[in-house]
Structures are given as C-alpha cells and as structure tokens.
C-alpha cells in the first residue's frame, strides 16, 4: 500500500464517503437517515427509540427525581429545552411500567428586554410559546426578566434542603408509590390562564442599563446568566418546586466547560456542568439533556416536529472574538467538524468532576452572585495569591492615593451606614472595594468590568450590605471569642 510510486486513484478516495453504510446499524433493515457520532447510521425508528431511551436512562441512573415530586422545566424556546419538554411529555404518556412519575411545570423567561427586542416582537414570541405550552396541558409560567429587579434577598441564599438521601430512600419511595394509587400523577397541576404580565418600560430601561454597564460582552453574558439563574430559582422556590430542569445539551456544556475555565470558574466546574447542581440547597438544578449532542437534538426536532421558537441572544450575529463564550463555542464547533470526538471527550472529562463536599455550608462562605463556595482563600503559595500580587504591582499608586480611593467608593456603595461605624473600619481594611470580598474569583472579574456597582439590583446590594456588616461584627468580637468558636455563625 505505501509504496513510493503508488498512485492513489480518484475513485479510491471517493469511496470513503458512502462507506458510512446506508443500512441502519441497529435494525439493519430500514435505510439510514441520521449519522450519530462517527459512523453510526440510524434509521428514523431506531433513532427515535434511542433518543427516548437515553432520556429515561439518564433520569433513572441518577435517581434524583422522586415520584410525585414537583419539577420545574426551564424552557427558553430553543431546540434543547423544547426537546426536553417533548421528552417529558412523551414520558408521562407512556404505559404505566416506564411512566415518568413526577409532576412537571414549565417556566419561560422572556429576555427580550435584555437583548433589545421591540415590545411587539416580544409579544409575538410570548404568544407563540404560550400556544406551545397550552398544547402540553402542563401548568406554565411566563416571567419577564425584568422581574429580577424586584427579587427578595433570599434569591441569593442557599437554603438548607432535604438532607442527603440514603441510597435506599429512592427505591423505597418508588415502591411506596407503586403500591399506592399512582393515578393521581398528572392531573395535580391545573393549567391556569394568567394574563401576560405587563412589563413597564422603566423596568426594561433599568435592566438594559444594568447590562449596559458591563464593559465587555463577556461580562454582560455572565451577568445575564447569573440574573436568569436567580430568577429561575426564585420562581421555582415560590411556586413550590423542589427541582429545576435545565435544557443544556452536551455540546453546550462542553463549550461551557472550556469557557468557564477561561473565565476563572475552574473551582465551580462540577456545579456548572454536572448533572445535578445543589448549590441552592432546597432547589436542585438538573440537566437531563447533557447526553445529547446539538446535532441529535436538531435532527429529532426536525424529524418529529417538535415545536421550538428561536430567540436571538446577546451574541447573535456578532464576530467570533466578541466574547470569551462565543469564541470558545466557535472553537469547539470548528474542531468538532474535523475531529468528531471533541465534544464527547470534553463531556467525559466533565463527568469525572466532583465538587468537594462540606467545604461551605453557612451563608457567609458562598459567593454573593453565583452562590458557589468561595475560592478566594489566598494561601501563601496559591495561584490566586500570585494573581493578587501581580495585580497590586501593576497598580502602583502613591500611598496617599490608595487610602483615599477606597474610602469614597465604599461610602457610596453602602450608603454611609457601614462607614458611620468609624471611617477607619472600612478604609483601613482591604484596599479593594468591599463588594469584592463577597465574590468568587470569576464574579469579581465580572463586576470589575462594570462601570458602577450601584446599578446592581437592590436585592444584591442589600444582601451585600448585610454580609459586610456581619463580617465586620465578627471581626470586632473576634478578640472576645474562644478559639474554635470564631468559625461558627
């Protein structure tokens, strides 16, 4: 084969393409319609079975969703979340043996205001989705993103949830459910027609000002996703849902994994990309679509007519390098075209990540924005302390200046209340603005990109104030506490 004067004839190369066999590799009868992974061709019927089976398998394997549990599906209108919705419906309608046993509801967050859509466009999208949700028969909520400005402070708190269930609890719950009358399942949530919430223009402007204060598109996207998450969790909590299902696909999560590392969120990877995310304690975020590639979802939606509505995001039609997230996506997708195992390799890596348990429980140890454990303990030889040192070195100012700048800043943020305690209290502490001390590394970077911290929503600012006061108090009475008790509360 590999001789010096060998000629490779044209036909030899062309035969490569149709070698992906035209018969379905599974049933070997019907002609193939889809190529999944590298070289596995499935026919329509087998593809549908494969798709549906994968959804059940991922839920069954993880045993997190208990029978009769209320689960909120976060549907953005995009293909993955609409596919998730159709899979849940499919699962609820099956024969009793493999029927899904939880009680779903739907929530849609209207982000049109953040992206700059006209009111008319938003209304049309909301109406389209309303029709889709109505057809499912499940209870649904349509929430405009502007409501995030009115959230209570509890939105950023991690509430103690159900304690760690022992392995036997799931099986016991399922057996109990099967013995009792299991027919009360789906009818529990009645569909109520609530009129579409009126969005005040002033709120939309505040939201746009908030997002506009972020200097880079990267920071804007991060901020948007943080706000969206707060709103989703708050909605789930107030409507009594203990689980929140997100529709992130394998491709999306692979991109998220790499871009999270670039954004400094390495410590929170397990939370951001894992199947279950328990940072909020009582509301657990679940990602059942994480085994599906974007291609599989798109094909399924097309072949089996799953309705979905496209909404433009912040980075639609922007150049490749406009934000870290966008650049990472473009990189991964392009690499995937030449090396079809890229996404699955990244995904398999993310499966192995686990968050260290028990490192943070009390509210004081969590990031104010992303509610993950703080990773900013700058130990002597850590990478983080090196980052801090180099930052200080590159900001060489005269000593007089550095004392003055923080003073004016923190007085404006907390409205003078903290500084009324004695100006020496806050100004002689950290040289950085106090809000930074409450944030994890990547949230610090996001906030640093913002022109002013005052446009943050009230609930974030008041919670920040509360935490700063508490830590101030803790500092003051530290001298009076016995050793070992200083860490509690």
């Amino acid at each position: 084969m590999c001789q010096v004067e060998e000629e490779y004839h044209g036909p030899l190369l062309r035969e490569e393409l149709p070698s992906v066999s035209r018969q379905c590799v599974k049933c070997k009868e019907a002609s193939a319609a889809v190529v999944i992974r590298a070289g596995d061709a499935y026919c329509r019927g087998c593809f549908k079975d494969y798709f549906i089976h994968k959804f059940r398998a991922v839920l069954g394997k993880n045993r997190l969703i208990f029978p009769e549990e209320k689960v909120l599906l976060a549907v953005s209108g995009g293909p993955s979340s609409c596919s998730m919705l159709s899979q849940v419906q499919e699962g609820l309608s099956q024969n009793a043996h493999k029927k899904l046993r939880f009680l779903p509801g739907i929530v849609y967050i209207d982000e049109g205001g953040a992206v700059g859509q006209s009111a008319e466009h938003r209304r049309r999208t909301v109406e389209e989705l309303r029709a889709v949700f109505r057809a499912t028969g499940l209870p649904f909520l349509m929430v405009p993103l502007e409501q995030v400005l009115d959230l209570p402070s509890s939105a950023v708190l991690s509430a103690p949830g159900a304690s760690e269930q022992e392995a036997g609890a799931y099986k016991a719950a399922v057996d109990h459910f099967l013995l009792s009358d299991g027919s009360s399942g789906v009818t529990a949530g009645q569909q109520q027609e609530t009129p579409p919430p009126e969005v005040q223009e002033a709120h939309t402007h505040s939201l746009q000002r908030l997002l506009g204060s972020a200097g880079t598109l990267t920071a804007r996207e991060e901020l948007l996703s943080i706000l969206r998450q707060h709103l989703l969790v708050h909605t789930a909590r107030s409507a009594g849902y203990s689980k929140l299902m997100l529709g992130d696909s394998c491709t999306r999560l692979a991109v998220k994994l790499l871009s999270s590392i670039s954004l400094g969120r390495g410590a929170q990877l397990a939370h951001d990309t894992g199947f279950s995310d328990s940072r909020y304690g009582d509301t657990i975020l679940v990602r059942p679509m994480r085994d599906y590639s974007a291609k599989e979802i798109a094909y399924y939606n097309r072949m089996f007519s799953v309705p979905s509505v496209f909404t433009a995001g912040l980075d639609t039609k922007t150049a490749d390098k406009s934000s870290i997230q966008h650049l990472t996506e473009s990189f991964v997708i392009k690499l995937q075209a030449d090396f079809p195992s890229t996404v699955s390799t990244i995904y398999r890596t993310s499966e192995k990540l686990q968050s260290c348990k028990g490192s943070a429980s009390a509210g004081g140890d969590r990031c104010l924005l992303c509610v993950c454990a703080l990773d900013t303990a700058a130990e002597n030889a850590s990478a983080f302390s090196a980052t801090l040192i180099s930052e200080q070195l590159s900001q060489k100012k005269s000593p007089g200046e550095s004392r003055q700048a923080p003073a004016s800043q923190c007085c404006s943020i907390v409205g003078g209340e903290l500084c009324g305690n004695g100006a020496r209290g806050c100004c002689s502490s950290a040289k950085a603005p106090p809000l930074r001390s409450l944030l994890c590394y990547s949230c610090q970077l996001t906030i640093k990109d913002m022109a002013s911290e005052e446009v943050l929503p009230q609930y974030i600012l008041s919670e920040a104030e509360r935490r700063l006061r508490r830590s101030q108090l803790r500092e003051e009475i530290r001298g009076f506490l016995l050793e070992g008790e200083a860490d509690e509360g």
Partner: protein
Amino acid sequence: MAAPVVIHLEFGGGAELLFNGVKDHHVTLPSQPDPWDVKQLLVWIQQNLLKERPELFVQGDSVRPGILVLINDADWELMGELEYQLQDQDNVVFISTLHGG
C-alpha cells in the same frame, strides 16, 4: 442540458436571520449543462439569497461548522455531502445549532 431544477429550501435554528427571517424558499435553479450539486447550490444561495454576513453561513466550499444540512429529511453525510446531485423537487434544510444564530 439539465432542465431547471425546483428546490424547496428551508432554514431553521436561527439561520433564517441571514435571509430576512424567511424560513421557506421555493427556488428554481437555472438549467445548466452539468447537473446541480450541493456545492454549486451553496454558491447560488450565497449569490442570490444571502442578505448579509456570508461568513456566518458558508466557510470556504462548505457550510459553516455547526450548520446541519438535511436532504429529503436525511443527513447529508449519507448522501455524499457536497457531491450529492440535486434532483427536481428535492427538499434541503439548513439548521443552525449554534448559540448565536
């Protein structure tokens, strides 16, 4: 000497943004001596239908990575990708799987 070929084009997943938001296109490809193949179709689309930002749809000879192509509801990889020769009344669908359209 091929007759003009009538093709039904569809765009989804955000790709329609590059075509004025129109998802369905019924087009008639002019007759030419050689049969039309998908590579030539892409060139034709770029010249006649694409309203803006060609780099978001085509890359070199082929579609941008992340855009799926279905020919008559089957993966174009099974039909020969760019080499597939179009027939009258074929249905070609372009679905974007990218986050940003």
